[in-house]
Symmetry: C2
Subunit: 445 residues, 2 copies
Amino acid sequence: MPSGEPCTSPLELFNSIATQGELVRSLKAGNAPKDEIDSAVKMLLSLKMSYKAAMGEEYKAGCPPGDRAAGSHSDADAAKASEDFVDPWTVRTSSAKGIDYDKLIVQFGSSKIDKELINRIERATGQRPHRFLRRGIFFSHRDMNQILDAYENKKPFYLYTGRGPSSEAMHLGHLVPFIFTKWLQDVFDVPLVIQMSDDEKYLWKDLTLEQAYSYTVENAKDIIACGFDINKTFIFSDLEYMGQSPGFYKNVVKIQKHVTFNQVKGIFGFTDSDCIGCAWWKISFPAVQAAPSFSNSFPKIFRDRTDIQCLIPCAIDQGAQTKMSASDPNSSIFLTDTAKQIKSKVNKHAFSGGRDTVEEHRQFGGNCEVDVSFMYLTFFLEDDDRLEQIRKDYTSGAMLTGELKKTLIDVLQPLIAEHQARRKAVTEETVKEFMAPRQLSFHFQ
Amino acid sequence: MPSGEPCTSPLELFNSIATQGELVRSLKAGNAPKDEIDSAVKMLLSLKMSYKAAMGEEYKAGCPPGDRAAGSHSDADAAKASEDFVDPWTVRTSSAKGIDYDKLIVQFGSSKIDKELINRIERATGQRPHRFLRRGIFFSHRDMNQILDAYENKKPFYLYTGRGPSSEAMHLGHLVPFIFTKWLQDVFDVPLVIQMSDDEKYLWKDLTLEQAYSYTVENAKDIIACGFDINKTFIFSDLEYMGQSPGFYKNVVKIQKHVTFNQVKGIFGFTDSDCIGCAWWKISFPAVQAAPSFSNSFPKIFRDRTDIQCLIPCAIDQGAQTKMSASDPNSSIFLTDTAKQIKSKVNKHAFSGGRDTVEEHRQFGGNCEVDVSFMYLTFFLEDDDRLEQIRKDYTSGAMLTGELKKTLIDVLQPLIAEHQARRKAVTEETVKEFMAPRQLSFHFQ
């Protein structure tokens, strides 16, 4: 859950702050218009906050960061991190246990969502934290405390998330960030913008513009079926919306001006030897994805206010979560699956942490840590006590693999069926309404 | 005067054609909607035409071009061309005579504007060719015959030109492409779109968005003062218009998809060792500059028609033309200069092809080929007979340098004064009208 600014290498960030500081001084010296100065100061503060978040210490003029910095990519770091690799296009690990997320947090310079933060969210919203928070499924954040400061002071913020629309039926795992985003929208009662990056899909897939846009519409139906409030949610296609917002493209070039190639390289992790065609896209696209985190990209919603903070719920990967078996792509639970297909996929493909025989299982117990069905239950079974009981019973051997799988099937079948019923109710007209640039209803000071 | 498509290296172009051909076949096989097939076929034909223009022979499937190709950049070519270097940002020559444009034509794979083509333009329009054509000032084209074919068959085309707005007062040389474009608009009676690439200026200069836009407005006044027809001319700021046109951004991504890094590199001439920050801009910007050559970037003007050809008048450089003395930047004739300043600049700075003494000049004559005042007269003195008489008299020694300079001053003073009077009459309101996305009046079949 990073907010606002893209992250950067500490030295680049340091240099950006110095440059921005000079700009502010020269604007002030030249008696520039107030809004111009304000805007430059805002950018300066934002850069300083990013610096503090990345470095764990305040920016100090004249003291550039050394190599010790979290987030800097030395060769040694690279070697240490070589077993895990995560960038926006790849999630790769050589460890059987999966990605080491604690290490990633250090690499990305973000912070862990700890018990203290979860308690604060509960106090601020007066709502029980979502199971995704309680169970560490959403595990990392940047500047979430700043969002909560604003919220507690009745200052506005908004949510921004997105999806690269694809032709295939969406997987259950694709819904995870949307389920969490819907919860955030409900408990904070804030507006939400959802970017459908069909420009990206168009560039990289063998699609026409019309096909890319039609995937946007189809995927939007699944997103809408998650239950988003039409009065507080704006879904937009990059291909369409760039030509409908006076502020969007301006923010894209503004970001391009402030984020250098090296900063982008820092976040997106490609090397000088990377395919230069790929690099092209990788360099220009972040600005299109970052622009919606500035509120004046949405003048119909926020008018020309530039001071509204943005919280971005996002998933680092849906790798393990979407498939019953990593080696079989058809083992994913699709949102279009029938009850029978779900049953068959869970029974046939879900990797089991159970023993080879019932007798052994009763005697030694199963292993929840590697059991795919149990992992699915942590995502989709709401009842904490029941989940804990299952964990104990399966670990002790009191619960057999067949029973565990049956429990998961009983959770997934109605969940998918209800999603399908809601999706069926979403008409083309509903999608048009969600995608119309318009005022949203919310109460900001 | 290239039309439409950006140029590419022959092999890249060959591969693009092969890919596009496959797309057309698959669309046809899949019974895709007619407009989708038409659009793909149009792109295919356009690629094939570019191929023919570059190679001097038709595209032949399965026969990729060899190294013999005009426009291919082998090391040998590079070595031969090393004395001249022209790309969108630099015009450099080691020759005292200036850029060798014939060589450039070969390098860029464009064609020379020969007597035959000029005669055809005269027949088609029924108008005497502009002095810029008669005197070889606009010297190269791509596919101009195709535009004339269309025009003679009452098929529509439009003009597209542009300017990167800057804060400084514009030079006389900056007006050259606009003077020629106005003539084209008058004789062909066609709509014109003028791109103010303030996004580019914003990215590269130390400017705020607001400053970049204000330069657009100021520069637009000088452009309007050239006499463009408000009913047939649309001036647009990239920063503003990207958010006002449903088609502009779609065309940008479409071009990004079809033009690879290597093609861009071919046109814009940077190397792998080029500053990567510069490369970033150089790769992404051509798409923004190429998009206006597709008519559906302007739905208010052309609705969603995609079959309207575009003619792009442009200057390869205004280097020599804008300055009286290459070494003194203040020696340019500015559009804001007084009659006195013009007189002083011509007398003081204009490099002379005359002899050291009046006696020598009378005896041996002057050299028009290197005389800056004479060069200016070829640009701005309309009367061919008088120009020829001056050439003869100066070459023979009958005309002295002071007389030549006086002739130029007498031409430039009223030209600049009249421009200033017209510019003064251009109000902010007029600029707004020119920049409002709207219908233009023209008669297309």
